[in-house]
Symmetry: C2
Subunit: 135 residues, 2 copies
């Protein structure tokens, strides 16, 4: 049950955010617009995305530490240490980022989104529709 699996990025984030010191902790706390730049090979999978929709974007937080199991939430030492699976810490065993974003524009294989707190160059691994009830 511990076979590793291979994530193959389908694109990357183009954003003015360059490091974790300056990035907001969550997109809805004031992240700038960002472009999702997809590999041409996955264009067919994007064809039904629509401007105005909210989607979940999954990323691979490649600057993370994977051996961390407890953190002070929001990198604030005043917050009590908490198990990572009760936080959105980027440091965790499998550093997958889950971001709910709003699609503002689509230009071929590039998608402009609001409220994405990922750094420039972050690999994208998936995009999913938001279902009823925010699921």
């Amino acid at each position: 049950m511990t076979t590793p699996y291979e994530i193959r990025p389908i694109g990357y984030v183009r954003s003015p955010l360059v490091d974790r010191e300056t990035a907001p902790k969550q997109g809805f706390e004031g992240a700038p617009d960002a472009w999702l730049v997809f590999n041409p090979g996955v264009a067919e999978g994007l064809r039904d995305l629509a401007v105005g929709a909210d989607v979940f974007v999954l990323t691979w937080l490649h600057q993370s530490q994977r051996d961390v199991l407890a953190v002070h939430p929001r990198d604030d030492p005043r917050n009590p240490e908490t198990g990572v699976f009760s936080t959105r810490s980027q440091d965790r065993p499998n550093p997958i980022g889950l971001h709910r974003v709003h699609i503002a524009a689509i230009e071929g294989p590039r998608v402009l989104v609001r409220d994405l707190e990922a750094f420039d160059g972050t690999p994208i691994v998936d995009v999913k529709p938001v279902l009823a009830g925010g699921r």
Copy 2:
């Protein structure tokens, strides 16, 4: 930007669901309760999970086809073919499952959840809290 990354499962799903023909398409459509069985090595990360909370569980849908970019949603040929990134199809380039579930019980490194539509044996890759607004 196409460097592969390695997912290392942190546990697996123990569920009465055994194949895609009999499983519901979404957990809230009537999935049975399931146990999340975590590896002992990640127990510290679980310590703040609480009965009664909703969390996102991320899985690796290991029975999926990764070369699929368009599908008939819900495996129903009457539904028009749709780009996978506008569907929750398990067949997609990086078959990560995103499941919002309700924690019903916790017994050490085993967590009982409601509404999980994953098959028995599905690897678990992450658990995250649900933030305000279902994010």
